[in-house]
């Protein structure tokens, strides 16, 4: 009976999360039809969705898998570049823009997942601080590599170089596709709010299903106690890789949306600060809480844009928020203090079911 109730509770919680996203989408669509949304806010819709996807994906790694990834911008970078490249190549072959974008999303997600898998194999053997610093290292390596790739196409085929655009030796009809630090320019602007919304719902469905499945419980068992999980026969590497790859794929999808929303895509945008920014969303929303990540990502992306005056203090405030939230949530003394002075103590005590939350 109790187990059944718990199951229902988790399903309900997932439904609330997805319902919240759907409701937000419907409200914004209605407001847009009514012409109440300013053009600035319209321009922010896709970036907000990009950050929501990133936050949800990082939360899978940090909150569910329990490992800190500081290289999430790297996976986003892979998704963004491979998909933008695919779109530019496919544009001539496939006339339908929608189909082309769909393929681009699949390619972006697949490549990011592939990178996540390949990087995950060595990285996930480590844990804690080492894992964090190695993901950071991989993020930087990906950014560095993307910065030196020069790729062009002419009638004879593709030309690749790691030096400069001159050494490609292209024919007269050559077109630069990836131009080193200048990146990819002229990607069609096909990302829109509806597609972004569908992608968010899909990602949420995947993640929430994973969390509430047998696999998800195994992943969380590894998070809570790796040695205990191993001793009851959970295959650590498999489950860690599973979570990490899914997380990377979703970050890749965020990258696809990002690249198809910008005219110029440059590798330097995907730096360490981007990874930290997403981490702030995850921490503020609550580690392991998908709904919180979504809300935090939306608020923290919209707020600085709406309050222009604050923009120079924005990063400073983020930093302070990060420290204060961590101290408030994790310091043993703060936890004790909260328990002592919480509202629950004032109310008459209910059955122990409350503890389950």
């Amino acid at each position: 009976m109790k187990a059944k109730m718990k199951c229902n509770k988790s399903t309900l919680s997932s439904m609330i999360t997805i319902g919240m996203v759907v409701a937000a989408y419907v409200i914004i669509e209605i407001l847009m039809k009514a012409g109440l949304v300013s053009s600035m806010l319209k321009g922010l819709l896709v970036p907000v969705c990009v950050y929501v996807l990133l936050a949800v994906s990082l939360n899978l790694t940090v909150g569910i898998l329990g490992e800190l990834s500081l290289g999430h911008a790297g996976f986003m970078c892979v998704g963004a570049f491979t998909s933008a490249f695919a779109t530019k190549c496919l544009a001539e072959v496939i006339p339908s823009k929608g189909l082309c974008f769909f393929i681009a999303i699949v390619i972006g997600a697949a490549f990011a997942a592939l990178f996540g898998f390949l990087i995950g194999i060595p990285v996930l053997r480590l844990n804690g601080d080492y894992l964090a610093i190695v993901t950071l290292a991989f993020g930087e390596i990906i950014k560095n590599l993307m910065n030196v790739i020069y790729l062009g196409k002419d009638s004879t085929g593709f030309h690749l170089s790691f030096k400069d655009s001159m050494s490609l030796g292209m024919g007269v009809d050559g077109v630069m596709l990836i131009n080193g630090p200048q990146g990819i320019s002229g990607t069609p602007n096909v990302s829109n709010f509806t597609i972004a919304f569908i992608l968010i719902v899909l990602s949420l469905l995947i993640i929430l299903n994973l969390i509430h499945s047998r696999d998800g419980r195994a992943i969380m068992a590894i998070r809570d106690n790796r040695i205990a999980a191993e001793s009851v026969g959970i295959n650590i590497t498999k489950y860690k890789l599973m979570a990490f790859t899914i997380s990377a794929a979703i970050a890749g999808v965020a990258g696809v949306l990002y690249s198809h929303n910008l005219a110029i895509l440059q590798a330097k945008d995907f730096n360490y600060n981007m990874s930290i920014l997403v981490l702030v969303f995850v921490v503020l929303g609550g580690i392991g809480n998908m709904r919180g990540s979504i809300v935090a990502a939306v608020i923290l992306t919209l707020l600085p844009e709406l309050l222009r005056g604050l923009s120079s203090y924005r990063m400073l405030i983020y930093a302070i928020v990060l420290i204060v939230i961590m101290l408030f949530n994790w310091a043993p003394k703060a936890i004790e203090f909260r328990k002592k002075h919480s509202l629950k103590n004032m109310l008459p005590k209910k059955a122990s079911v409350k503890e389950e939350q």
């Binding site: 480590l126 950071l136 930087e140 390596i141 400073l316 983020y318 990060l322 961590m326 994790w330 703060a334």
Partner: protein
């Protein structure tokens, strides 16, 4: 001859990494935490020295001393306010994320005070460069001072740890916090002392780094900081000679990578070193193997 020039440059850069890595390695050895903000303390040291000697016109030695004192205090304050409350936290991620927050905070405070335009740092070193082989190889004064500083600091630290009471307390705390406390060692004090020493060293590293590479921005410290962590891991985290050797090797690898492979790929090469080391020999060159207890 260019080979020797690069080698000297590499050793000089590596010595800076080594000094930073010492701070990392000591803090990691004792508090078992990765102090992400360490790199930004370097930047604070650089800016303090810059403000005093370049803007206010005080003699460079005053700038250096004040920046050491300032960073030492800063290190202790950071430890007290941000890290100590989380020492017994349930998740090891808590203190790591807080450290990232502190790093971000320092960067953004510096950004608000000094702006994002690079400041040109006047070198504090006045020793003239040495020319060898009829002027084909030049060893800059900065390189000499950096190397000497690094060796002096390493010897000093080794003596401090092995010969003094405070140093022995550090060893004891890094071995077993609980047992050390039972033996009457002030654990909190010892950890604070470690942070103080580490941050003081970071200030020296900051001044030396900015003397060699004179452009100073709020982000100056973050990359060298991370690379110095790579150096500390390379040499074996917790080991003082390891930090030194790891730092110098990493500096040489970086400069050679820049010179002979690709200047844009230098960072990627350095990070690849980290990944290879962690995969092949996770304890580093001088690291101790720690048995996992259940």
């Amino acid at each position: 001859m260019s080979f020797i020039t690069y080698l000297v440059q590499g050793v000089s850069l590596g010595s800076v990494y080594a000094i930073i890595a010492l701070g990392y390695t000591m803090v990691y050895g004792i508090a078992k935490m990765l102090n992400f903000a360490h790199g930004d303390v370097i930047m604070v040291g650089g800016f303090t020295c810059f403000t005093l000697s370049s803007s206010m016109g005080l003699p460079p030695i005053v700038g250096v001393l004040v920046s050491i004192v300032f960073c030492t205090i800063l290190g202790v304050v950071i430890e007290r306010v941000a890290y100590r409350p989380l020492r017994e936290a349930a998740s090891p991620l808590a203190v790591l994320i807080t450290a990232i927050g502190v790093s971000y905070l320092l960067q953004n405070v510096a950004l608000l005070i000094f702006g994002s335009n690079p400041k040109s740092f006047t070198s504090v070193v006045t020793i003239p460069a040495i020319k060898l082989f009829e002027g084909q190889v030049t060893i800059s004064g900065e390189a000499i001072v950096t190397l000497i500083c690094c060796v002096v600091i390493m010897i000093g630290l080794t003596l401090f740890i092995n010969k003094t009471k405070g140093g022995q307390a550090m060893l004891a705390v890094s071995e077993d916090k609980g047992a050390a406390q039972l033996m009457g060692i002030n654990v909190n004090g010892t950890i604070a002392l470690t942070f103080a020493i580490g941050s003081g060293l970071a200030a020296i590293a900051g001044v030396l780094l900015c003397s060699t590479y004179p452009s100073l921005t709020p982000y100056t410290g973050s990359m060298p900081g991370i690379k110095a962590f790579v150096a500390a891991v390379f040499g074996g985290i917790g080991s003082i000679p390891g930090a030194m050797i790891g730092g110098i090797l990493l500096g040489v690898i970086e400069i050679f990578g820049k010179a002979y492979i690709s200047s844009q790929m230098a960072d990627a090469i350095v990070f690849s070193v980290l990944i290879i080391v962690l995969l092949v020999k996770p304890t580093g060159i001088f690291g101790k193997k720690i048995q996992e207890k259940v």
